[in-house]
């Protein structure tokens, strides 16, 4: 009787453990994550759907510098273009740059960070040196200089994305190298090496899954960096030609004296979209960080309230923390 009871208890636990191990990899559903995902999702969706819904962003009208109103939700520019329409197109442009750079930078950092650290020896020394040197070469000035040398008609989106990626992978690669170094000396990796697993298999199956949270957080950061960097470049008038991003709007607003005209509706919304998207991605990053480092998790007052503790108990716990 006792044995069947034990079996009954263990069976469902085993059945659910497969699902739970996947759930454990995913970020816990904290309010931060939910808010971050919703804001980021809305902005991405708007970047995809928006340009299909609104009209021509360059359609001019005689209604210049009109403040926000029912006809123009976000007012108009100096030449009477609708800011709301422009922001929709700009969001799409910025997102394309952001994701392109994010992917390129992640691939580069994985190559230099993981491969060198795993193979070790002179290759590792060389890759580490390249990484550290790339880290101290200031990125944006480099992009500005390169951008200016390339003729405007060749300064495409891919080139700007590539240059931004080249100047932004190094920080992530350094972190990945450190993590890989600590993982590769663990027992289970040594065991799989002894059992004759191929190098690429150890890298892909044994090591890479442990790096995914770190890389996810770096990917998110690279997107923020790229959108900010591109906005800065476009603001200086050095962005990719034939693209329309949020930075382009800011560039036009600044150069057409939106500031002196007090036309805040022209330059506040594009920056706000960048800020909101960046904040949403940071919130997602927070949740990823909490997976990587469980010490950061579940210790705030709100989390303790969620455990159903009374105020008295929470106060006691906090007193203990301070001690």
């Amino acid at each position: 009787m006792a044995s069947t009871l034990a079996a009954d208890e263990t069976a469902p636990a085993q059945a659910s453990s497969g699902r739970r191990s996947i759930a454990r990899l995913l970020p816990s559903r904290s309010p931060k994550l939910v808010v971050g995902l919703i804001i980021a999702g809305v902005i991405i969706l708007w970047g995809i759907v928006g340009p299909l819904v609104v009209g021509d962003p360059h359609a001019i009208s005689t209604n210049a510098f009109a403040p926000p109103g029912p006809a123009h939700w976000l007012g108009t520019t100096q030449t009477g273009e609708d800011v709301w329409t422009q922001v929709a197109y700009g969001t799409r442009g910025s997102l394309i740059i952001g994701f392109t750079v994010g992917i390129l930078a992640t691939v580069l950092s994985a190559f230099f960070g993981v491969l060198g650290a795993y193979l070790g020896g002179a290759l590792d020394e060389g890759f580490a040196l390249i990484t550290n040197v790339a880290l101290v070469i200031p990125g944006i000035p480099l992009v500005i200089v390169i951008g200016n040398y390339v003729p405007t008609n060749q300064r495409g989106l891919l080139l700007i994305a590539l240059v931004l990626a080249i100047t932004s992978w190094a920080g992530s690669a350094r972190v990945l190298r450190a993590v890989t170094l600590s993982i590769r000396s663990r027992d289970y990796v040594a065991a799989s090496r002894v059992s004759g697993e191929k190098t690429w298999r150890i890298l892909v199956v044994e090591i890479l899954p442990n790096l995914i949270p770190v890389m996810a957080s770096q990917f998110v950061f690279a997107i923020i960096f790229a959108i900010l960097g591109e906005a800065g470049l476009s603001f200086l008038g050095l962005g990719a030609s034939n693209t329309f991003t949020l930075g382009t709007i800011l560039f036009q607003a600044y150069n057409d004296l939106a500031l002196t005209q007090g036309a805040w509706w022209w330059f506040v919304p594009p920056g706000l979209v960048i800020a909101l998207f960046g904040a949403a991605l940071s919130l997602i990053n927070f949740s990823i960080d909490e997976i990587i480092n469980p010490k950061l998790r579940n210790q705030t007052r709100s989390a303790r309230k969620a455990w159903g503790l009374t105020d008295e108990q929470i106060r006691l716990l906090e007193k203990e923390d301070i001690k």
Partner: protein, 330 residues
């Protein structure tokens, strides 16, 4: 110990070489000839283009004149003599002179703002990590939001609010050109601080969140170490535990991140200087770019790279002194 310093020296030599060589290679590796680009731009601007102009440009940009290796040698020799060429924008001023006038502005602005932001951020982050779940701790996600704000956009907002809506601060420039002259007078320094306040505020607001978050997370991790428990068990003064035991160890990654972040700050301030018409390096780079002043542009890029490298060196030396483990480990 020797090996540690040797590694560092090798790194700085290679980094220096890379910066210098990059500066040499960029105009030569780009698709299309920079000389053609420039002549096209001059033609579009309605400037007269003679065969002499083309030749002058080719000499300046190295479009012709011997093999690449030969040009590289000449470039290094010029560099050793501190010769970066002649600026087109401020003709016939030397590039080094022009940069020399702008550099102190940026170093003072960016340097001071970064140090203020670092000290404030690390201090607040330490307190937030110490008192988990306090109002300060809950404030951290808000400050990291400021990090995702484009520097120059924040600058535009500050200009709009603090110079237009409430005219508290001057809009542009590094000092009051009408009433003061640069020099070591009280009036000039006061004016410079007054004019630098808004740009500095921009840098502090947008960079403080990163320091706070980093320090807070390290503080939280450090506080769960065994030696903290031991210190508490010994009955040490909580302040002593916080400062000498926890904060001192938790600050190390922030300190090593300081040098790395400097690159970002410099980059951000380039665009910010543009908004405030601040007479620094960023403004100069932009002037060089928009006037196709290639000698000045290369010079500014070189100086920015070298400054970041120098800041890294300072932090590295300091770090070796503060954390003996870095010396022992290698």
């Amino acid at each position: 110990m020797m090996r540690f310093y040797l590694q560092k020296i090798v790194f700085y030599v290679v980094a220096l070489w890379a910066a210098v060589t990059l500066n040499f290679l960029i105009p030569r590796l780009m698709p299309g000839n920079p000389v053609d680009v420039m002549i096209a731009k001059m033609g579009a601007a309605g400037q007269p283009v003679t065969p002499g102009t083309r030749h002058a440009l080719e000499v300046e940009l190295g479009g012709s004149g011997g093999s690449l290796l030969h040009q590289y040698g000449a470039y290094i020799v010029n560099l050793m003599h501190g010769n970066l060429g002649i600026s087109l924008t401020d003709y016939p001023e030397k590039v080094t002179t022009v940069i020399g006038q702008a550099l102190p502005w940026t170093i003072a602005l960016v340097g001071l703002a970064t140090i203020i932001s670092f000290i404030l951020g690390v201090g607040l982050g330490m307190l937030a990590g110490w008192k988990r779940g306090s109002w300060l701790d809950n404030l951290i996600p808000v400050t990291t939001m400021f990090q995702a704000v484009p520097y120059f956009w924040l600058a535009l907002i500050l200009v709009l609010v603090l110079t237009r809506v409430v005219p508290l601060f001057p809009y542009a420039g590094g000092y009051d050109v009408a009433s003061t002259t640069p020099g070591l007078s009280l009036g000039f320094i006061g004016s410079a601080i007054y004019h630098g306040f808004l740009p500095a505020l921009t840098i502090v607001i947008s960079s403080i969140g990163g320091w706070m978050l980093g320090m807070r997370n390290m503080m939280v991790s450090t506080l769960s170490e065994d030696y903290i428990v031991t210190a508490e068990a010994k009955g040490l003064n909580p302040r002593r535990v916080r400062m000498t035991y926890a904060a001192r160890n938790a600050v190390l990654p922030s300190l090593s991140g300081f040098a790395i972040s400097l690159g970002f700050v410099v980059a951000g301030s380039i665009v910010t200087e543009q908004v405030f018409s601040y007479p620094g390096i960023g403004q100069l780079l932009f002037t060089a770019v928009s006037n196709d002043d290639y000698a000045l542009m290369q010079g500014v890029f070189l100086v920015i790279s070298l400054s970041v490298l120098a800041a890294n060196l300072v932090v590295d030396v300091l770090y070796g002194l503060i954390d003996p483990r870095t010396r022992a480990r290698s």
